[in-house]
């Protein structure tokens, strides 16, 4: 049975919600002000958000001494890194 992790779920909900809002604001500001760099920064922030989410989960699994789940979260991050290494 999955142990209740409401603390983690709340943190993730907040990080994803606030993160998307900030990134969208950057993009909107960049478009309105005509500053392409701001738009690019907002896009980069959006792309990074899911990776940040997995990193937060990894931290929570490590703190809970849940070795298997931590290893799997680490594997996901490793695959993301692998993609960047082989795909560029």
């Amino acid at each position: 049975m999955t142990p209740p992790m409401t603390g983690l779920e709340k943190v993730l909900a907040r990080v994803l919600g606030v993160g998307t809002a900030l990134a969208s604001a950057l993009i909107g500001l960049g478009i309105v002000a005509g500053v392409p760099r701001l738009v690019t920064a907002g896009i980069a922030a959006i792309i990074a958000l899911p990776a940040i989410r997995v990193a937060i989960m990894l931290g929570a699994f490590v703190r809970a001494r849940d070795g298997r789940a931590a290893a799997i979260a680490l594997a996901v991050l490793a695959i993301l890194a692998l993609g960047v290494l082989v795909g560029r």
Binding site: M1, T2, P3, P4, M5, T6, L8, E9, K10, L12, A13, R14, L16, G17, G19, T20, A23, S24, I27, G28, G30, I31, P36, V39, T40, G42, I43, A44, I46, I47, A48, L49, P50, A51, R53, V54, M57, R68, A69, I72, A73, A75, V76, I79, L80, L82, G83, V84, V86, G87, R88
Partner: protein
Amino acid sequence: MIDTTIFFVVALVASALGGMLGMAGGIFVVPVLTIFLGVPIRIAIGASLVSVIACSCASAAPYLRAGLTNLRLAVVLETATALGAVTGVLLTGAVPLPVLFALFAAILLISAYQMRARRVDVVALPTTGRDPLRLAGRFRDPSGREVTYHVHRLPLGLGLMYGAGLISALLGIGSGVLKIPAMDGALRLPIKVSSATSNLMIGVTACASTGVYFLRGDIVEAVAGPIALGSVLGALLGARVLMAISSERIRLVFVLVLVALAGFMVLGAAGIDVVRGAG
């Protein structure tokens, strides 16, 4: 600036309408950009992927707070979707444009079929009682009753997820088309858990491919920016006006639109220049 406004509005409408039916609007973005706005398909795919991530993140919070998202299951399946996405990235250069258009047409038709056949909660299989990764979960249904569920046939689910990741990276969509059969059919999850968990996973799946496209310089900010912004606002809007119009009627319109777009994508595959982004 006119283009920016058009991109923004297209994404807003696609995402709002998609949100009303609980599907991602991402599947409309690439066809509309390539067919009607003359955006080259690879640029359209990059922009669509950014909006897929944005929508996944923007809509995750309510599911997480309601305890519907199975986080452990999400990371396990993400190993497969992310690997699939990396494979897709490596394949992009090798897949000729006509094949890309044809594949997109096929996915549009499958989506149309799935939209007609509605999802129903499957009957749970008897469990083996073994759950080494502790993936089983529980949630409260609207009546306050606690529902417990188990995860079945994980290897089959992982295989389908790998395919979903690959298609997502190649076509720039969230790949709900393949995730739904994987989660409902193979893993036998309750629909709400399946929707919540796949919504979260879509973000990482798209992140695996989009990160590479971004570093390669394939994400064009003038297209991706307004598309992402429109999608996020559209998703929020769609959730608000969810019940305003009969969803049966929207469903039928969507089926027709999906089939029509599939037809255009077939023309694109044949190199007929109705499709301005085919070149």
